[in-house]
């Protein structure tokens, strides 16, 4: 069965050969660390807030390392079978279909479990045997035990700002990964990213970044998620399409980050402080 057919069976996952180099501007030594972890077959955890560039980084690394990338968007209905695979009834017979994780192990791909806290804890446990030095995956239903090839790598992402206690990563899971911390990039780099992604002029991009810096100062005043680089890029695109900067920021930054009317009003004031009408 080809990859594409396989993928059709995965409602929550996708598989991609990253043919073209994705744009990624390193902030620190994350590229070297990732390469070292890959070479040593150490599972990697990408830690950081939403929209900070974790997924982009991983696509960049998959391209660099020349491996296909299997991405699973985790959610609370995701079962172990959704990851490992299952028998499907086809006519009068049953057919085994690999899940995305099994597929990645068989083909030596990079398997990315995005937002792993969203998955139920009993689901998360299936990755445990893959993350120690045996690197094995047991498929109880078929009786197979797969040993991951050296090319295989397990990567998870995790947003520590997530404040629900019901969604915390168990220490026994956390401690199986090399964690690379992602912060919002320094202003100069973040400006560069916004310019590259949107084609915006540097001054406006810098103003967006300045605004984000002000908003991020509110992160422990009850803002659920700070203004992410991704939202700056969205705002930048709107500005490029002719939307007035203040309006673009209200739509792409102020409205998405909070529902609290007071915080909204304060963020709008910040927008009006940075951007002229």
């Amino acid at each position: 069965m080809s990859s594409e057919q396989q993928e059709g069976r995965w409602p929550d996952a996708s598989i991609a050969e990253v043919a073209e180099e994705p744009y990624y501007l390193p902030v620190g030594d994350e590229v070297e660390i990732f390469e070292a972890a890959y070479a040593r077959q150490l599972p990697v955890m990408l830690k950081g807030p939403t929209g900070v560039g974790k997924t982009r980084f991983l696509r960049y690394m998959a391209h660099r390392l020349g491996r296909p990338l299997v991405t699973v968007a985790c959610h609370d209905d995701l079962t172990a079978s959704d990851l490992l695979g299952r028998y499907l009834v086809r006519g009068d017979e049953t057919v085994w279909i690999d899940g995305p994780l099994t597929h990645a192990v068989r083909t030596g791909a990079i398997c990315y479990l995005d937002e792993i806290v969203e998955a139920r804890k009993d689901t998360t446990v299936v990755i445990h045997p893959l993350t120690d030095d045996r690197r094995r995956l047991r498929l109880e239903k078929t009786g197979e035990v797969l040993v991951a090839p050296p090319e295989f790598l397990l990567v998870v992402s995790y947003n520590p700002g997530y404040q629900s206690l019901m969604k915390n990563l168990k220490p026994s899971t956390r401690q199986r990964f090399v964690a690379i911390d992602f912060h919002f990039p320094p202003p100069a780099i973040e400006t560069e990213i916004v310019v590259h992604e949107t084609g915006l002029d540097r001054a406006t991009a810098a103003a967006l970044v300045k605004l984000a810096g002000l908003i991020r100062n509110l992160s422990d005043s009850g803002l659920d998620e700070p203004a992410s680089t991704r939202l700056l890029v969205y705002a930048g695109h709107l500005i490029r399409s002719g939307v007035a900067p203040r309006r673009a920021c209200e739509l792409a930054i102020a409205a998405p980050i909070t529902d609290d009317p007071t915080v909204q009003a304060a963020v709008r004031d910040l927008v009006a402080t940075v951007f002229p009408a």
């Binding site: 609370d76 209905d77 079962t79 079978s81 959704d82 299952r86 499907l88 009834v89 086809r90 006519g91 520590p160 700002g161 404040q163 629900s164 206690l165 019901m166 969604k167 915390n168 912060h183 919002f184 320094p186 202003p187 103003a207 810096g213 002000l214 908003i215 991020r216 100062n217 509110l218 992160s219 422990d220 005043s221 009850g222 659920d224 700070p226 203040r246 007071t262 915080v263 009003a265 304060a266 004031d269 910040l270 927008v271 009006a272 402080t273 940075v274 951007f275 002229p276 009408a277």
Partner: protein, 633 residues
């Protein structure tokens, strides 16, 4: 803009047909306080806060930690203009406190009131206007209007002194263009300045364009020496949007200046939390030297407005606990539960160090609680609806690829379909999703003396404890729709020998008349020894059968007790108590109304495990909101 100017200059040449002075509408600070509190936090990186103060009625001012704003603004017909003025005042105050402006002023002007101060304010104010526009260009339009307004309001100022003449010449100049030296020299000459001194004004444009206030300061002080400064001269009329300089507040020499770059990023807080500095955050202009061992209890708003505020005098302090290694006596232990305390200086636990006793809750009439419910009925209804969404659900998912059970309906249907020649179905299973909650909450409420203070020290406001009371009522009401087990403990104390826990609601108690009476009877106590209270609550939580255990602290200030529990010592013990809790599987989270909490909260609770409520009255709703967010599946 034109219309705005016209309104501001009634009868001016531009508007012969304009009506006489239009009626103004007052805007109270309290209406904008919530937004401004967040605004100033964002602009200053949490270093500054805003507060209304009657002393600021004629102009805002700052002491380097707080920007004091007028209690109301009654200058404009349209309240939107007053809102803009509040915003510009705040931004102006932030730059004044963060750019070195105050430091430059503090050094030399304390002993030069009168004309020298006015001259300095005119020049440095212009410098700051230009910095403001360079830093936050979005404010340029508002600032330009306010400059025109300020100029219009000076029509009544009679004496054309040198500072006044300069100020007017500067306010007339457009912000977008560099200053014209010749115009300034001319204005000074008209005000009677001798030619040699006036010539110095040629340097003004350059000095005022520099990002560093040093050149402006040197120039202003040089000129100040040249102007006579009669001691009894009347204070010049203020420029409404500019924070005035209050040299008496800046008497202490400045230590260092935080630059715009260092104050305005969240970046440093993203790093691992560090032990807090002994001195509170804020800009180091008006800070008193404090060391961890100095045991000045730092209640947030001591005595001033508080009904029950504790008098914090030096005399009633005991020597620091670390110098007095005396175990509790049998008498002191009698009837108490004993808890260890962490001594960070010795890196060891002091065994059985704190005696915790239960304080009989002051029960009584439930009327105060019923009144809160009457006054906030729609809000309580909304909270309940939100909490209903948290109810555990059992969801049977049918037609699944895989599952615990066969989906009979699907199989029968599939059988029929296949008989009919249709393609066979694949999804023949069903499964049940269990989303149990099984949560135990220990709510720990700071009842220290400072909770008796009025919000912002203004007796027209509620006391802090009143807001806490409201927060508890809202939480309890919202929790009536869930089965979560919860307890509410108040804590206070006075030395390790008398730590007190008030059981407002025990885990196995129902929220009813008795509990309502106790919430109504909550009253401020003395000090804030958080460590033993955390340990008590942790132990109580561990006795509850639950999958998730949460300790939620509601606090209004840093740990503090008068036997050496202030400063670093108290913070370290509290931190240790919280680590103990987390190691035993109790999650910890805090809500605080202390504007300086960012100094120590990350160190005690960890990043993103606390919330600073900038606007105290908002605490009432935030408690329930935070709990909901923490326990959303």
């Amino acid at each position: 803009m034109q219309r705005w100017l016209r309104r501001l200059r009634p009868g001016g040449a531009a508007t012969p047909a304009a009506p006489a002075t239009p009626a103004t509408t007052a805007l109270a600070f309290t209406e904008v306080e919530g937004v401004l509190a967040l605004y100033v936090t964002a602009l200053s990186g949490g270093a500054l806060r805003v507060m209304a103060n009657a002393g600021a009625a004629r102009g805002a001012y700052t002491d380097g930690r707080t920007i004091f704003l007028p209690p109301q603004i009654d200058l404009f017909p349209d309240p939107a203009d007053a809102r803009r003025l509040y915003r510009v005042m705040t931004a102006w105050g932030v730059l004044q406190a963060t750019t070195g402006y105050l430091n430059a002023a503090a050094g030399a002007l304390v002993d030069h009131p009168g004309a020298a101060l006015a001259l300095y304010e005119a020049l440095a104010g212009e410098w700051l206007d230009r910095r403001l526009v360079a830093t936050w260009p979005g404010l340029a339009a508002d600032l330009t209007r306010l400059r025109a307004d300020a100029l219009a309001r000076r029509d009544g100022v009679e004496a054309m002194t040198l500072p006044e003449a300069l100020l007017r010449a500067l306010l007339t100049a457009p912000l977008a263009r560099p200053l014209d030296a010749a115009a300034l020299v001319e204005a000074a000459a008209r005000a009677g300045l001798d030619a040699a001194t006036a010539a110095r004004l040629a340097a003004v444009p350059e000095a005022l364009a520099a990002p560093d206030p040093a050149a402006c300061r040197a120039l202003a002080l040089g000129l100040a020496r040249a102007v006579s400064s009669p001691p009894g001269a009347p204070a010049p009329a203020p420029v409404p949007y500019r924070a005035r300089l209050r040299p008496e507040l800046l008497r202490r020499p400045a230590v260092a200046v935080a630059s715009e770059e260092t104050t305005a990023t969240a970046d440093d807080r993203d790093r691992q939390p560090k032990p807090p500095r002994a001195t509170p955050r804020g800009l180091p202009i008006h800070v008193e030297a404090r060391t961890p061992e100095q045991l000045v209890p730092r209640e947030r708003r001591p005595s001033a407005g508080g009904r029950q505020a504790v008098q914090l005098s030096i005399g009633d302090r005991e020597p620091p606990v670390t110098f007095q290694q005396v175990p509790l006596t049998a008498e002191e232990k009698a009837g108490a539960e004993l808890f260890d305390e962490w001594d960070y200086l010795r890196r060891m636990y002091l065994p059985e160090w704190c005696a915790v006793r239960l304080r009989r809750p002051r029960g009584g009439s439930t009327e105060p609680v019923e009144r809160i419910l009457r006054q906030h009925r729609p809000l309580v209804t909304r909270l309940k609806q939100q909490f209903e969404a948290l109810r555990p659900e059992r969801l049977r998912l049918t037609r699944q690829l895989d599952g615990d059970e066969l989906d009979l309906t699907a199989i029968v249907e599939d059988h029929a379909d296949r008989r009919a020649g249709a393609a066979p179905a694949e999804k023949l299973y069903s499964r049940t999703l269990e989303r149990e909650r099984n949560i135990a909450l220990g709510c720990l409420v700071d009842l220290s003396g400072s909770t008796g203070a009025w919000i912002d020290d203004d007796p027209r406001n509620d006391q802090v404890i009143e807001v806490t009371r409201r927060a508890l009522v809202f939480l309890c009401e919202a929790l009536t729709v869930l089965d979560d087990r919860y307890a509410i403990f108040g804590f206070t104390g006075g030395t390790r020998k008398r730590c007190e826990i008030t059981v407002v609601k025990a885990f196995d108690e129902r929220y009813g008349e008795t509990v309502k009476g106790r919430i109504a009877g909550l009253a401020p106590g003395a000090y804030t020894r958080i460590g033993p209270a955390v340990r008590y609550t942790t132990r109580a939580l561990l006795q509850q059968p639950a999958r998730v255990r949460l300790l939620l602290l509601i606090s209004d200030g840093r740990p503090n007790d008068f036997d050496g529990y202030g400063g670093r010592y108290g913070i370290e013990d509290t931190r240790r108590a919280l680590i103990e809790a987390r190691q035993q599987g109790v999650a910890t989270f805090a809500l605080t109304i202390d504007a300086e909490a960012r100094d120590y909260m990350p160190y005690m609770f960890g990043r993103s495990h606390y919330v600073v409520v900038e606007d105290t009255p908002a605490l009432a709703v935030r408690l329930a909101d935070v709990y909901r967010r923490l326990t959303t599946q």
